[in-house]
């Protein structure tokens, strides 16, 4: 308060006569209580000065506004002053209210709000409008945020369900409702187990990989997470030829199943959805193949414990099976993780060499020293083709057979028990044993044929896993035939076969039995009758691998002799034919023979020829070039002759016979 101080005077606190009654009684006012006195004092508070101050303030404000430009005032000065005044007034009012509140006798009768000024009304309205506007803006932001979140959710779900629908085209998608309640994901799983294809006897327990959970990744896309090294693949090899560790090319092909998750996360960002779904398809296919390989191995294990033909287990441990297939060959079948590293390869190799529990001795593992390491490797079929073959026969037996039970082709495997024949494993072992053996037979045949120029080898694919067939042709040169056909007219019309153009020797290998069938050797009947009947006799016999070269050469030599015999007959010379000897009779009982000598070890040629002359009379002069047993004969080594030279020799002998006869 400034300005003049106003003073109000109260009456003296003395009792003044209020009234006198007629009887002279004086009435004085009653004493007021303390509270009444306080109330009366409160009522005397006058706020007019405050109102006057307000009016003055308003006047000054208007003056200030007019002169605002002239003076540089702080823009918040008036607000500060207003707030200070308001604070003062509020303090007074609060004191008053506290006083009234403390005094129970006095209560607030009523409060009236002062009539707001127009600007106050408008400012209140503006504040309310601004508040409401702010509220709506916040709502707007909230809606935008929610919309964005929902759109993202829609996009994520669209990606997820789109991918899931595409996966469902090829794979069995199931839903686990209990898992859905427990976890945040919807509980989708992909079931890779096919339980409709196995009968109860061959029922395999479901693999742990059969059920694959579909998860969400950080971007909302579906993700399939497999534990590392969970996929396993079938691994096949021959002991001593192939190592038990995983070949690098196989490891490279099958590393997708064990790709680390972080690399997949990084790759996913750059990959489109289509590519990612293709990757997922590939991964599921690898798991499917892994499950199939597990089933194959389990089936083989089961068969290994049944006694069946062709199965000879020599070693077994977890995920490893070793079998002997005869002829000193041993193979192993194992299950290895697809994505194993190099350090585990070494461990695997060591384990395979040391930790095997052999059921049989290992002597059969070492092959004979006759063939070197290169030969051993060459004679063995390709391991990948063997793996494929094994998988194929199991697939046909377990899958195709289960579907088409009455249809069993003759070349397929019976596959049930060992009583009726070899099971799957037995069939596989027998096939491999035959394949190895037939390779060795082929080596021997080629060795023989390569050394004899007039022998040709022809392979006949049998398309049977346990049978192989070759034919060795002995071809007579065309020129000789042509010359023969000119000299011969119709003298021997009864000889329908005339001269053969080629002789055949057929070699058939069934499992490990070699059958040789060839024509050209004289039959026993004609030998007894000492007649050269033009019957093409066929010899059939079995032999061992070691004897095969000799047998082939003997057969070829006998065919040459047969041919020479027929050629001699063509020109009218009677000759005696023995197994490997063609004898011409000269005068005076002398004989000259053309003898074949076979030697498979001869690198210059397998068949060598000798000329042996036998003297009919023991007293005649004999030229003794080589006398071995003291017999009256002499021999001349002619060497490894071609058919042309043999024919010429024959003609010389024929002329010798003819000239001698003429004499």
């Amino acid at each position: 308060m400034d300005g003049n101080l106003e003073i109000s005077l109260d009456k003296l606190p003395i009792k003044r006569l209020e009234s006198i009654e007629e009887n002279g009684v004086e009435r004085y006012p009653s004493d007021s209580s303390y509270d009444e006195k306080r109330v009366s004092l409160i009522r005397r508070i006058d706020f007019a000065w405050a109102l006057e101050d307000d009016e003055e303030r308003e006047r000054k404000k208007r003056q200030k506004k007019s002169s605002k430009d002239a003076s540089a005032t702080w823009q918040w000065q008036s607000m500060v002053e207003n707030l200070q005044l308001a604070h003062q007034e509020l303090s007074v009012i609060i004191d008053l209210i506290n006083t009234v509140d403390a005094n129970d006798a006095v209560t607030v009768a009523g409060m009236t709000r002062p009539k707001p000024l127009p600007n106050e009304v408008l400012s209140d309205l503006a504040v309310s409008a601004a508040t409401k506007l702010q509220c709506y803006r916040q709502l707007g932001k909230y809606f935008k945020q929610s919309a964005k979140a929902l759109e993202e959710q829609i996009a994520r779900e669209a990606r997820f369900y789109g991918a899931l629908i595409r996966l469902q085209q090829n794979w069995k998608v199931k839903r686990q409702r209990l898992a859905a309640a427990a976890s945040s994901s919807e509980g989708f799983i992909i079931d890779l187990f096919d339980n409709s294809l196995y009968d109860s006897a061959a029922m395999c327990r479901p693999s742990s990989l059969s059920t694959i959970r579909v998860d969400h990744d950080s971007a909302g896309m579906l993700a399939i997470n497999l534990p590392p090294n969970s996929c396993r693949s079938l691994h096949f090899g021959f002991l001593g030829v192939h190592s038990a560790d995983i070949p690098k090319e196989l490891g490279k092909i099958r590393t997708r199943g064990s790709v680390e998750q972080c690399t997949r996360e990084r790759e996913k960002e750059s990959m489109s959805d289509d590519e990612y779904i293709k990757e997922t398809h590939t991964l599921l296919r690898e798991v499917h193949q892994s499950i199939f390989d597990d089933q194959v191995f389990e089936m083989l294990n089961r068969e290994a414990f049944n006694q069946s033909i062709g199965v000879n287990v020599t070693g077994i441990r977890e995920n490893y099976l070793q079998l002997s297939i005869g002829q000193g060959n041993t193979l192993f079948i194992s299950l290895v993780p697809s994505g194993k590293g190099d350090d585990q390869d070494a461990a695997n190799t060591q384990d395979s060499e040391s930790a095997i529990v052999p059921l049989d001795s290992f002597d059969n593992v070492k092959l004979e020293g006759k063939h070197g390491t290169s030969k051993r490797k060459w004679g063995f079929p390709n391991r990948t083709s063997c793996e494929i073959y094994l998988q194929q026969i199991v697939h046909e037996h377990a899958f195709v057979k289960a579907k088409d039970k009455p249809n069993l082709s003759g070349t397929r495997v019976s596959g049930q028990s060992g009583k009726d024949g070899p099971g799957l494993l037995g069939h596989f072992c027998l096939s491999l044993a035959h394949r190895i053996f037939s390779n060795r037979v082929l080596v021997e045949l080629e060795n023989v044929v390569c050394r004899v120029p007039y022998l040709h080898l022809m392979t006949h694919p049998t398309w049977h896993s346990q049978t192989s067939s070759w034919t060795i042709f002995l071809k007579v040169p065309q020129s000789i035939l042509h010359a023969e056909s000119q000299s011969l007219k119709s003298d021997f019309q009864n000889m329908k076969d005339a001269v053969k153009s080629q002789f055949r020797t057929k070699v058939v290998v069934n499992d490990d039995r070699i059958n040789v069938e060839g024509d050209g050797a004289p039959n026993v009947v004609s030998l007894f009758k000492r007649s050269s009947e033009n019957i093409s006799s066929v010899n059939k016999y079995e032999c061992d691998l070691a004897d095969l070269p000799v047998i082939i050469l003997l057969q070829a030599a006998s065919q040459v002799i047969c041919w020479l015999h027929e050629e001699a007959l063509m020109v009218g010379i009677k000759t005696n034919r023995d197994f490997l000897c063609l004898t011409f009779e000269l005068e005076q009982g002398d004989t000259v023979s053309l003898v074949a000598h076979v030697n498979p070890e001869d690198i210059k040629g397998g068949i060598a020829w000798w000329l042996v002359m036998e003297d009919g009379s023991p007293d005649d002069w004999k030229l003794q070039m080589d006398m071995y047993d003291g017999a009256s004969e002499y021999r001349k080594f002619l060497g490894h002759l071609t058919l042309d030279v043999l024919y010429s020799t024959l003609m010389d002998l024929v002329s010798l016979c003819g000239g001698g006869r003429n004499h």
Partner: protein, 148 residues
């Protein structure tokens, strides 16, 4: 399981009734949610008027927040419904799925046959080539013996 085509009894009728009931429930949910959204939005627009007592404005602002939350909740519920429909489509679209599976099976069988034919042809050609090569080889003057 022999599913009869007659109506009234049997698993087909029960499945059809269950499907109809489910469809009805879903339609009700859709209608409820959409009505919820429309109603709350209408209320939001209605309280745009600025009232004199500021306390009413505060009350209205709380109400607006509540209604906005309800709208978003209803939208989320609709989206969940859509997800359920998608899942139902995945697990119940047997007709199209079976057609697709049959088509793929036919394709794969044909591919298997073609592969078998191709393998047989390859075998035949290989046999013919082998025969020709062998005849050429053994007719040639030079033959390299395969020694150990």
């Amino acid at each position: 399981m022999n599913k009869g085509t007659g109506a009234g009894t049997g698993p087909t009728a029960a499945a059809a009734a269950a499907a109809a009931q489910k469809q009805k429930t879903m339609m009700q949910r859709v209608e409820t949610d959409i009505a919820n959204i429309v109603d709350n939005f209408t209320q939001l627009v209605n309280v745009a008027r600025v009232n004199d007592p500021p306390v009413r404005n505060s009350q209205e602002s709380f109400m607006m927040e509540m209604r906005a939350a309800r709208m978003v909740q209803a939208a989320d519920s609709l989206l969940k419904l859509v997800s359920e429909l998608k899942q139902t489509a995945i697990f119940s679209g047997f007709a199209s799925l079976n057609d697709h599976v049959e088509r793929r099976t036919t394709e794969f069988n044909q591919q298997a046959e073609r592969t078998d034919q191709m393998l047989a042809r390859i075998g035949e050609e290989a046999a013919a080539s082998l025969k020709e090569l062998e005849s050429h080889y053994y007719s040639s003057a030079q033959r390299t013996p395969d020694t150990a």
